[in-house]
Amino acid sequence: MTSYQTNAEILRKEQITGDIFRLTLNCPEIADQARPGQFIMLKASAKNTPFLRRPFSVHQTSINGRVQVLFKVLGKGTEYLASCTSGTLLSVVGPLGRGFTLPQKGTSVCLIGGGMGIAPLFFLAKRLSRHHDHYTSIKVMLGAATAKELLTLKSDFEQLGMPVEMATDDGSAGHHGFVTDLVQSTIGENPPWAFYTCGPHPMMKKIALLCREKDCFCEASLETMMACGIGACLGCVIPRPLPTESGEQYFHVCKDGPVFDAGDILWK
């Protein structure tokens, strides 16, 4: 797999809500190679602080060489990214990691995103929409704290012709409660299902366990602390359920993931 390090120009910065932003970067090689579920490492500072790069899922790419990331401001790195104006150059490494496995023909597909976990699912949705007729149905379920955070994203999915169900913590849009509540009622209809999920750990765990119970295909995109993103530092581990023959006890999320078969994960 080829990946690149390049200085990408910020072509556009959109403020989705108060602390959620979307950056459009010009990096043709990465746009060309990226697959849904893969991520990039951004240098989120002009100097040495913050010191390490920050990982972000590829939100979407375009044939004219653009890569988008969708992020929420949490700390220094994301604050820096939110403060950048178009024209700024950002150092990018990517595309990295193992992305989603595309579903088989004839399956019912369900994408379940919580918070910023929605970012990689949109890229997957775009890819699936190329062959919409291959799938029995494609459902999208989005969860967030409040309606404002979802509206732009909801219409992005709807433009692909995919119906969107929402769940918000404060009940300001869609179901008042967890997005996982929506999954429960879906899983019985029109098998076989392929579930794809990214978001807070408890959400993914619930979906993973539900899918295990009903024997459904399910992939989840996980997060850990990462220093390099390229498999060199061995910092980004999560435990494997069983050691490998050669005695490996951990997955390296940046290489073996970030997307995993949900059945391979020890959900704590």
């Binding site: 040495n48 910092g235 050669s246």
Partner: protein, 308 residues
Amino acid sequence: MEIGKPKLKVQLGSIQLKNPVMTASGTFGYGNEFTNYVNLHHLGGIVVKGISLLPRPGNPPPRIVETEGGMLNAIGLENVGVLAFINDKMPFLKEAGTEVIVNILGDTVDEYAEIANKLNNIKGISAIEVNISCPNVKKGGVAFGADPKMVSAVTRAVKDNTNLPVIMKLSPNVTDITATAMAAEQAGADAVSLINTLMAMAIDSETRRPRLANIIGGLSGPAIKPVALRMVWQVAKTVKIPVIGIGGIMNTEDALEFLIAGATAIEVGTANLINPAITGEIVQGISDYLSAHRLESVQEIIGSLITE
């Protein structure tokens, strides 16, 4: 007067490096992780992730945490073990077009000896670097690198089991690093490299928990550079064998500072994690610096610190 391209070759005991820029163990994987970003052929050498006799799973997460001007790591020496290294990693490395230096570690003196022995006749290995910043399980877990006597014992054990040049990688977690450097030299080391990470920790005041599962980890990055420079300078004045400078090298200027302090070569560590092309850039940067200063060879700056 026009001068040609500056000469970058340096000699580390019996091995010649095409330039003084190498990678530091644990920050460059087994080399193959970096081929997308840097031409390995341009490097002076690659020092691979530390290898033990048997595979090691490493520590539970979190293993890394960012700190001001650097990071802490407690990887726990996760590695594939010496046999898998030879079978799975060496075929790529021996074609990489650069010197391959194998970093080794052990729990006991005998274990170091055994790994050295297993690596001795493997084609494509240029030297062994010995990580002595790990605990001696037979001596209550005191790091080998903390005690000159243990440093001698490990150096001898490795030398007795290999024909390859042996580089002892010194720990900075000591009162007097020149004492362990001299112990390594007297026991027959062909070179010393320094520094390994500084023992450190980080706490989350909200949760009152350590930020690393292992509680303690090793500090690396720009934060340690002044300490590393001081130690390299002291050791270079003390021993006659070549010194390899390591610690917080992020760019060409940093690398030059170590050479000026007396290092014959340098290893770039944490910087690889942030800029995977940095080693190639530093090779070019040193060459440009020499040209700009009208110096013919990198030898002219090694140990050239002006103190009067």
